[in-house]
């Protein structure tokens, strides 16, 4: 096992070969009657819990979702690898919407306030969560951020997650939808390599499309891989630099925002 991060040799493949890990027989589960001692004269007993490890995160997420709903807020969880152009895309989106919508941003990064600064330069309120060593935002972190910011009433809250295609997939933040960003400078097979994230996302923004003429990236292949993992995923080809696809993305936002407003109490 890797001693720096604990990743297990049992699940690691090099050149398609499983690396030998710990030996020994797998643990067998023997159900016991709850509350009964294991053996005679043994001071131990069995406590049956059957509790979901993510239940606490789920409870915070439900509270966040309730807060968004009662304020008519469309909350989106933006997820991608580092360097996919999430922040650039977000800046362009905010500039397009800021005169007509109430907007706010929560930025998640391990370190630095750089992304929040880029957002604030557009005039939109941004709050930075630094996760330290953490590799994802969780619903409790978002709840804490929400308490410290002005809520975008009947508007849109963008939550830019830590750049990571693995860990954020498991953590519901209370968002209406996860929006995955994949850029043309990455590999087409990322949806297959990180299927949890592309399964969890409702929309895929294929970013940096202005670079397609200079790359060997097969965009149709990337789209077919994403649909293999998630046949219902909506895909928009976009470029934060040239503005291609921005109209379609803004229309998607508007349609979903109307949906959020409809659910808000009058």
């Amino acid at each position: 096992m890797c001693m720096s991060c604990g990743c297990g040799a049992n699940g690691v493949f090099v050149r398609g070969k499983r690396q030998s890990g710990k030996t020994g027989a797998p643990a067998r589960f023997r159900p016991h009657a709850a509350g009964t001692p294991l053996k005679d004269n043994d001071a131990t007993r069995i406590v049956r819990l059957e509790q979901d490890i993510l239940a606490k995160n789920g409870a915070y997420a439900a509270r966040n979702r309730e807060l968004f709903s009662s304020n008519g807020i469309l909350a989106l969880n933006l997820v991608s690898s580092p360097g996919s152009g999430k922040t650039a895309l977000l800046v362009r989106t905010l500039q397009a919407l800021k005169n007509t919508r109430s907007l706010a941003v929560i930025e998640g990064d391990q370190q630095t306030d750089n992304d929040a600064e880029r957002i604030r330069a557009t005039g939109i309120e941004a709050i930075q969560i630094n996760t330290g060593k953490g590799c994802h935002l969780d619903a409790e972190m978002v709840e804490r951020a929400l308490r410290q910011m002005r809520l975008p009433q009947n508007g849109i809250l963008f939550i830019e997650n830590v750049g990571n295609l693995v860990c954020p997939a498991a953590f519901d933040l209370g968002e209406a939808a996860k929006v995955a960003v994949l850029s043309a400078t990455e590999g087409e097979d990322k949806p297959l390599k990180y299927p949890d994230m592309f399964r969890a996302a409702r929309l895929l923004l294929l970013n940096k499309c202005d670079l397609l003429p200079y790359l060997v990236f097969d965009i149709a292949l990337a789209e077919s891989y994403a649909r293999r993992v998630n046949p219902d995923i909506r895909i928009i080809r976009i470029s934060a630099t040239s503005g291609e696809g921005m109209g379609e993305w803004l229309a998607w936002l508007e349609a979903h925002q109307k949906e959020s407003n409809r659910h808000a109490p009058a």
């Binding site: 406590v47 490890i53 399964r199």
Partner: protein, 113 residues
Amino acid sequence: MHEMSLAESALQIIEDAAINQGFTRVRTVWLEIGKLSCVEKDAMSFCFDAVIKDTVADGARLEILETAGQGRCARCGHEMQINTLYEACLQCGSYGMQVVAGDAMRVKELEVE
């Protein structure tokens, strides 16, 4: 590595149970981890051993029960065992198997004293 925060969440469930059910030491922890949950079994063991130091579960043995993934085809309804989220249905060939089992992460049981 999200297994660290999942291990901390599991520990919190155990610590809450210690208060509610009146035990002071945990000898064994059984976790159920579905093959389709986004948890790497060995990473979980590593993180669990790290977070239980100086807690009610210090020194506890961790037993991870891996449960198989089960999917149902969204188009034809065929059910089959799946190991990934992008397997095609063996009956009709379409993608998008809906997960019906094997994505859980649960603290199942504890052996306590």
